[in-house]
């Protein structure tokens, strides 16, 4: 009957609208969640949560920069002269919380460590040059002998421009994402440099030169390439590529930016080929014929008419290829060596953002600064890929105004 059809039609339409709405909402919620968790990082103190840095009350130093704290605990800074602009002198005496157990016997610390706090107070009071890293719950009372250093929060500046990513060092973890961002860009860009020429070559071959039969098996093969899980690429990279690169350039280790770029290039190829081929096929037949009818050879037609006309599509292909590479996790994690250092050459290990998240999220305590920093990395990745996709769309749409007139 007619009305029952109408009802079914409305129901199906409603279902589609609903699922569209729910999907959009879920995506939006994920993004909001990502940013909410990530932004929490900047409410964290620069030192590990639950701990405080303390000095002797006679020490005039009021606060220390997180980087300085790290250098002190690394033993790179050993005297107060270096950090307090002459207000304080003498050697720095480092004191980590667990050292208390070697200084005092269990008896001296009392039953259930009841005397832990006063003992800590003793230590701090007795050492003028001390800097102690102590849990808040055992923080010795007595403001007149123990002074807490003001730590300040982790700042966006130190996060985005910091050159060190050491999220687990105590007492002041370092969250500088610059090496990770640069590592990601470095590996991805070089991957595209590697993939663009062969990708374009195959696209031209497929759309211009290949016969129906060659196309018939090559095209599905390339599409298959896109469907292979990235661990498989990573595995291939690890057992074949990494040793090969190590030998070829006689490197100490084969895991390097180059290995990552090569694997990513292979992975980005299907994207580049498919989109570039579409762009080349999209060149109007009339233009091809116009060129050939003027006595241009097939090759002249390809590089004088077809490639220029498809250039925006080809650029979009490259940009989307980069997008694919930037977000890739597993394969890169397996072959780049994962050293969170500023990338200096292609032959050294680097670390990308997705690899960092994948490798560290499991061991970062939920809700902690490290955990939030990883979420913020996720936000950065989201922004990068969004910018890439938007620019690909922009480039492609700009090219559409280039169709043949009239």
């Amino acid at each position: 009957m007619k009305w029952s059809r109408r009802v079914i039609k409305y129901m199906i339409e409603g279902l589609f609208t609903l699922s569209g709405g729910v999907t959009s909402l879920v995506i939006l919620l994920i993004v909001v969640f990502l940013f909410k968790e990530g932004m929490g990082l900047f409410t964290n103190p620069a030192v590990e949560k639950g701990y405080a840095l303390c000095v002797n009350a006679a020490n005039p130093t009021g606060s220390l920069d997180a980087r300085v704290v790290k250098q002190i605990f690394d033993g790179e800074i050993t005297t107060w002269e270096e950090v307090s602009e002459g207000k304080m002198t003498g050697p720095i005496a480092l004191f980590r919380f667990n050292e208390i157990f070697s200084r005092y016997t269990e008896e001296e610390l009392g039953e259930d460590y009841a005397l832990l706090s006063p003992r800590l107070q003793e230590v701090v009071a007795g050492t003028p040059g001390i800097i102690a890293f102590l849990p808040e719950e055992y923080l010795p009372p007595g403001q007149e002998v123990v002074k807490r250093l003001r730590a300040g929060n982790i700042t966006p500046g130190s996060f985005f421009t910091g050159g060190e990513w050491q999220p687990t060092v105590a007492p002041a973890p370092r969250f500088g994402v610059l090496p990770l961002i640069l590592g990601t860009i470095w590996v991805s860009l070089f991957a595209i440099v590697l993939a663009l020429v062969p990708g374009l070559g195959v696209a031209i071959y497929l759309s211009e030169l290949a016969g129906a039969r060659a196309r018939g098996w090559l095209k599905p093969t390339i599409e298959l390439l896109a469907g292979i899980p990235s661990v498989v690429y990573g595995f291939f990279g690890l057992v074949v590529l990494v040793p090969f690169i190590q030998k070829l350039f006689s490197l100490p280790v084969g895991e390097s930016a180059l290995a990552g770029s090569v694997v990513l290039a292979i992975m980005a190829l299907p994207t580049i080929i498919t989109i570039a081929e579409d762009a080349i096929r999209g060149v109007p037949r009339a233009l091809r014929e116009a060129s050939l009818a003027l006595g241009a050879t097939h090759w002249q037609t390809i590089y004088r008419v077809i490639i220029p006309h498809a250039s925006s599509g080809i650029t979009a292909a490259a940009v989307l290829g980069i997008g694919r590479a930037v977000g890739e996790t597993m394969a890169v994690l397996m072959v780049t060596g994962n050293a969170a250092v500023m990338p200096r050459s292609l032959f050294e290990p680097v670390r990308t953002i997705p690899a960092t998240i994948a490798a560290e999220l499991g061991e970062a305590p939920a809700g902690g600064a490290h955990y939030q920093a990883l979420f913020l990395l996720g936000c950065i990745l989201f922004v990068i890929t969004m910018v890439i996709n938007l620019s690909a769309e922009f480039i492609a749409s700009r090219g559409q105004g280039k169709g043949v007139g009239a």
């Binding site: 009818a293 006595g295 002249q300 043949v404 007139g405």
Partner: protein, 248 residues
Amino acid sequence: MIETKHVDFYYSSFHALKNISMMMEERTVTALIGPSGCGKSTFLRLFNRMNDLIDDTRVSGECLIDGEDIYSKSVAVDELRKRVGMVFQKPNPFPKSIFENVAYGLRVNGTRDRSFIARRVEDSLRAAALWEEVKDKLRESAFALSGGQQQRLCIARALAVSPSVLLMDEPASALDPISTSKIEELIASLKQDYTIVIVTHNMQQAARVSDKTGFFMMGELVEFGDTKKIFSDPVNEQTRNYVNGRFG
């Protein structure tokens, strides 16, 4: 001079041209008319071997230009196409400047001499009756021109490589009446230097511009002769019906 002897043409198994024998004199305009799908374009595209671009096609018989069989193995197709220019139904300028559109054929020919190219571009645009309209905007995109101007640009582009034959496949069918009459005038003046073959659906146009007319139907050349005769006193009944607009 263009001559075909017993030419057959196949799109895979479809027999599109059947035993066509025809002769087109130098410096004349030959019009090809006939109902849609009768094979006019296919026939026209034989002469610059544009049909080669389509997979799985076959041609037999002889196709001679100035006595040379253009389907023989020794003919280089790109050289042939420099001698036989083509203008398409829809204007199809390149997404380049007006100047570069006309210079294209010279450039792919390997011509580097700038002043020669500039001269050739001007001559071609003059010959296509477009020079006065575009001489101040040669560097602008060809798409900035009107449809009729674009079509004359395409004619100039074809002329720039100095062909001896000009093939035109419904060159005015996408244009307004004023542009159409400009193209027709142009054909009349180009006749002095070129052998022109033109496909048209417009009977008046065929009558106005051509010296000879061939009437095609279902892949066969039904009648071929002086345009005056074809339009006033055709031998064949079908031709008479067609030119009088009774079918097609």
